[in-house]
Every structure is written in structure tokens, then in C-alpha cells.
Amino acid sequence: MRTLLLLLTPLLPAQVTVPFERILNADKEPGNWLTYSRNYSGQRYSPLDQINTGNVAKLRLAWMSQADEADTVQTSPIVVDGTMFITKPPNIVEALDARTGRSLWTYRREIPSDFRGCCGKVNRGVAILGDSIYYGTIDAHLVALDARTGAVRWDAAMADPKLGYSGTGAPLAVKDKIIAGIAGGEFGVRGFIDAYDAKTGKRAWRFHTIPDKGEPGNETWAGDSWKTGSATTWVTGVYDAVTNTLFWGTGNPGPDWNGDARQGDNLYSDSLLALDPDTGAKKWHFQYTPHDVNDWDSTQTPILADGLFQGQMRKMVVLANRNGFYYSLDRATGKFIAGRPFVKQTWAKGLDEAGRPMRLPNTTPTAEGSLLWPSLGGGSNWYSSTFSPQTNFYYVNAKEQGAIYHKGAAEFRAGEFFNGGGQRRYEDEVPFGAVRALDVATGELKWEYKLHSPSHAGLMTTAGGLVFGSNQSSFFALDAKSGGLLWRFETGGAIVANPISYLVDGKQHVAIAAKHTLLVFSLD
């Protein structure tokens, strides 16, 4: 075995190493995809333009990589100097030759036999720092792997999977630390964001997304409800080097649909947190949905963008929220700049001057069920939106769908579902989806490309003037300026993932995961 390894070693690519400075300056090497959203801005914009509005019609399949397991591949690949790092269900990291798709190494991790999880054994990608790959496992560990071989360098238990905790999001490498969120919002856990020393795996800090007794914010939870209030952190955040701020979204309060026992705003659920990445200290927070009873997590990756608002260029942090509203906030203070619905919503009269929703009466779930837009899938969801500095538009894969929300009993038992209700489909509606281009500062609709059904997949813009997106099993490219369809490909499997783009041999590639397969495209 060792001989075999030695024989294989010369075939491995040049040693991969990505110090923090490379990620910080990711725009200097547009051919690589060094962090979840390519760079720290969360924009999921590729400066590559070989594939563009003029030739995208000729895009063709270059290679595929398949998984054995039933759960969907939801990975957003990392690509460094010709090597691609992806995750596959149920608990796998794989390094691939980004030119041919051939496997270089595989890390497989056993899953505890009693593992349950809420939503499949899914994972959205890894982080790289130095010559290590960082992976949040489905059983709630954070592991560091040797980027050359997949060998485990360290293994840190983040939380107890028996209580419902799991890792599904890609970690974020900032300076000398690995920042990782946690999933489990349907199990009455207490959410947190962790930072680990990249070299040793020692935990540097933990920010509890629900304040402890005596801390400011704890009073927004009635009684002991804060102990089981969830507010998980299961999607990757972003980082602003100028202000040295980490931005990370938080999930629904628990139990999801029955808020009776947790009267109050339930901070910091459904919020955006601005933290000091060195210490974990909170700079500010903005809560999108106070006292949520519809499971509208606000975990989606926010975007740092500059935009013109009332004649002034503003540094903003923006996102199209699962609750149906688009928000732009001041990046330094968290103060609300503007917001408006980007899909049909029937639960709020609007947003007040501070950006707080004005909830309409009789819009909470009932035992019989109450009809409301958007559905619990939201106007958007965890998958990435994108921003193009070429158009200054924010693009979102929007869902137009309502649901009948019902409230049920919620009795906490550690490690079991703690939901207090659910939703059922509203039959008298034909739901649909749309890729929508919004003014980045105000959320005003610029164009839309209608889709047959709501999507659950992310978008990417490129300097080629394109927006890549997915609907059902189709992967497609639109004109970023007008929304016109320029290319499509039937993958044959449901797409629940974000696209990326990279160069190998000086040639631009585009990658997307569909069902059990990662597909990579290039021009002839």
C-alpha cells in the first residue's frame, strides 16, 4: 500500500498552499476559486470572461464525477492551481484533477448509526487555508485534512450529534482561524458560531447565537425557551477586511411553527451578526424576522456590495431574505438602508423605518392551518444569490409559492424533532420560480426570467456578462443585462447547489452539482 502511495505521489499536482493573503487577494487570481463564494465578498462573481454572451451557446460537458449515495451532492467546489476539492454524501471529501475529473484522494468518515439529521446527509463544501482542507462533518466535527493526501491533521468535536447538531455548511478561513457554523435548527439546539486555530484545532472562540441568562438579548425569550431556541448558523458567512468584520446569518427560532412558549423577539434568531473574527465579539446585529413562526431562517450568504442610494455611494451588506423581503444595510453600522418584497408576501404590511417588519394580524400558524406567502421554503433559501459589478444588479433565484402553516404541540426531547407544526401545500395555486435582477441598493426589480417551478439552486455571475442558474434538472445561462436565455443543459438530476468557475490550462470551466453528479463544462 505504501509503495503504491509512493508511486502515485509524483502524479499529484504541485503542492497546494493557500495562505490567508491569497484568499484576501482572490481577485488577483481569477482562475482559482479559493473560498465558498470565490472571494470574501459573497458576490459569487467570477472575473473570467472567456465564456461570454457571444459563445456560451457552444458550452459543452467536459467531465463528470459521481457519488454512490442517495443524498444529493450540494457541494460548491474549491479550485486551487488545477486541483478541485469537493464534498459528497454521506460524509466524504474528495480531491479531483480539475482538468480531467480523475480522483486524487478521498476522505471517508463513518457516520454514527443512530445519526438522524433533519434534511439528508448533505454538505455544501470545504475551506482551504495553507495546505489544509477544512470540513464540517455531518456528525458535527470539524476536521483538518492534508490537502495533498486527505490524511486527518486534526479532528475537533464541535457539538454532540445525538442532540441534533450537524455540520453541513462550508467553513470560512479568516486569518489564522477557521470559522464554522452549525446546523440542527429543527431539534431545539442552541446555535453558535465557532472559530478554531487552523494549525492546532483548538477552539479560539464561540459566539452563542442565543445570549446566556443575564446577557443582553436573553430577555427576548420567555422563561427557559432560550435554552432550546435553535438560531443555527448552517450557511457560510462573509468577511470584510476593511472593517475586520465577519458577517454571518442565523436560522429560525425553535420550535419552528409554535412560538407560544418563546414570547419575545427571540434574539439573535433570523438575524445577521457582525462579529470581530479575532475575538468573536459582536459589533452589531440586525434581526430580519422578530419572533419568527414560519421557519424563515436568515442563514443565506449575505453579499458585500457598494451601491448608489439617493445619490450617495453606500457600502452595504445585502440579501434577499427567506421571509420575502430584500434588505440593504449599512455595512459598518448594520443600520437599515432600504428594503421591499421581492416575491409575493402576505404576512407583513411592510418594513418600518428601522427595517422591522410590521406583521399583519392573524398571520401566525393555527391548528387548522393558515394560508400565507411565502411558504416555509421562503422567497429564497440557503443557496447563493450573486452580484455583478458589471451591471450593479443583485440576482436571486426567487420562489413564488404560498403554504398553509399549521401549529402543533411542541414538547422538547433532546435529539428529537422540535417543530410544533408544519406546512401543507396550498392546492389552488400554481407555484413558479424566477431569476430576478434587483437594484442592489433598493431591491427594485430590473428584469426577471420566469421559471416553470420554484428552484432550490444558486446563481453565479461572470465577467462574460452571464448569470448561471438552475431550475429542476436544467442548468442554464442568462444574459446578465437583459435576462435573455443563452444556453441550457439537461443534467437529468435535480440541482440543489451553487455553480462556480475556474481556469485550468488557461481554459475557463464552469461546474455545477446535479443529484449524484458533479458536472463540469467548457468550450471546445
Binding site: 419552528d256 402543533g408 426531547r413 424533532f417 408544519g422 416553470h452 434538472s473 436544467s474
Partner: protein, 253 residues
């Protein structure tokens, strides 16, 4: 010490066995009933008598040979069917619901009245049902297949669907007419559709595929049924017999 350990292991096994068994207490069944009425009854009928979803008030459920399978189906749904999973239920709620479903099977259900053999004659002859519906591949394809329909739908529902077909259009079934830029209009049932293309099967069973960019107009008859009502064409007795025949189609091949 060893004794204690052995005892502990037995206790654990017993506890695991106990967990596998469905709860049978009155309170559990009452909770199960409430959950069922709220989340399942809409399709399966409040007493599991069947409706859009299969009849559940029977001793043997073909998809759920044992209790573990039943719990699994309630939790995860059935792929490729209209049955969704109740993923928001806790373990306990799943098992309470399953217990209630099993209790429905203990209630005796009356067989559909009427002469099924005579109903079969009407099906093939006067009713003309086989022109559009197939039983195990025998018959037309314009309408949904009817193999096993008696296991999935109650007699009452079947009767209603014969009298007012539009009250019983299955989920996903849709009559469409495509007007292509080149060529004649095509009317048929929608086989598949996404943002870019649609596949339509005509009454003869031919599949027509169109890119949406090739179509001038796509007319969708949502909730409409091409099936005629049998209110005027069949006598009350004939209708009863036809329903008896359909209700007898319990098994799919």
C-alpha cells in the same frame, strides 16, 4: 458485575423492542387521530376511507407490510407518488400516527355493493372506459391507469368521479393543447414539463416533444377532465355495478 451488565443489556434490548412497538394507549391514539386528521385526512379521508389518497381503513397496507415500514412511509413519503413525508413530526408523533392508521384497519369496511362481473361488461362495453384507461397495460392511455384503483380509492370516491369527473382529476394530470409555430395543434395529457420543453401524449399514445421556443401558444386545462360524466348514460344500477368492478381492482401487477 457481569450480572448487572447482562441485565443492563437485556433492559436496553427490551427498551429498543418497546420502542419498535407502536403505542397503544388511549391518549396516544387520540393524539394520532388528531395528527392524522390534520395532516393525512385531507387526501386519505378523515377516517382513512380514501379520497385522493389510498384507502387506509384495511387490514393489509401493500406498501407497509410491517409497522416500521409504515412509520418510514409517514416520515419520508413515497417517492414518485403524491405521498409527501411528514418530516416535521417527532418520532413519537410518527408512531402515534402510525398506531392510529393501524387502528383504522381494524374497523370492518363494507365491500362495495353491486355486481362486479356485470360492472366489468359495462367497463368494456357501454361505458367505453377501456378506450381511455388501461388495466395492467390493457386499454387506452389518455386517462390514468386503473390497475389497483380499488385499493387506492374508496367506492364512494369512484362513484363521485364517474358522476363529476372534474372533482377527481389526479395531481399532476393535465390536458394541454400546444400550437407549434410549424405544424398542427397537439392536444393530449402532459407527460413532463420544465422551463424549456414539454412532452405531450395524445389519445393514440404518441408522445410529442416541443421546445417551448417552438410553440406559439400552450393552453393548459387545469382541473379539467376530458372524461364525460356518466350521470345520464348509466342507470343507477349500472353505476353501482361499475363501481363494484372498479373497487374490486385491488392489486397492481
Amino acid at each position: 458485575m457481569k450480572c448487572v451488565l447482562l441485565f443492563a443489556i437485556f433492559a436496553l434490548i427490551a427498551a429498543a423492542e418497546e420502542r419498535k412497538k407502536l403505542p397503544s394507549g388511549r391518549a396516544d391514539l387520540a393524539t394520532g387521530k388528531k395528527l392524522f386528521e390534520n395532516q393525512c385526512g385531507l387526501c386519505h379521508g378523515p377516517q382513512g376511507e380514501g379520497g385522493r389518497g389510498p384507502l387506509l381503513a384495511k387490514a393489509r397496507l401493500s406498501r407497509a407490510p410491517d409497522d416500521a415500514a409504515l412509520v418510514g412511509i409517514i416520515e419520508h413519503g413515497i417517492r414518485g407518488t403524491e405521498m409527501p413525508g411528514a418530516s416535521s413530526m417527532s418520532d413519537r408523533e410518527l408512531r402515534q400516527t402510525a398506531a392510529y392508521v393501524r387502528s383504522l384497519g381494524k374497523v370492518r369496511t363494507e365491500p362495495a355493493p353491486g355486481n362486479a362481473a356485470h360492472g366489468a361488461e359495462i367497463y368494456r362495453g357501454k361505458g367505453g372506459c377501456a378506450n381511455c384507461h388501461a388495466i395492467n397495460g390493457d386499454g387506452g392511455v389518455a386517462g390514468p391507469g386503473l390497475a389497483g384503483i380499488g385499493g387506492r380509492r374508496s367506492a364512494e370516491y369512484l362513484k363521485e368521479s364517474l358522476l363529476t369527473p372534474e372533482s377527481a382529476v389526479p395531481d399532476g394530470y393535465m390536458l394541454v393543447t400546444a400550437s407549434p409555430k410549424n405544424g398542427a395543434n397537439v392536444t393530449g395529457t402532459r407527460v413532463n414539463e420544465d422551463s424549456f420543453s414539454i412532452q405531450i401524449q395524445d389519445a393514440a399514445g404518441r408522445v410529442h416533444s416541443f421546445w417551448k421556443s417552438e410553440i406559439m401558444e400552450l393552453k393548459k386545462q387545469r382541473g379539467k377532465s376530458p372524461m364525460p360524466s356518466y350521470k345520464e348514460t348509466l342507470s343507477a344500477d349500472e353505476l353501482t355495478d361499475l363501481v363494484a368492478f372498479l373497487a374490486s381492482l385491488k392489486e397492481e401487477k
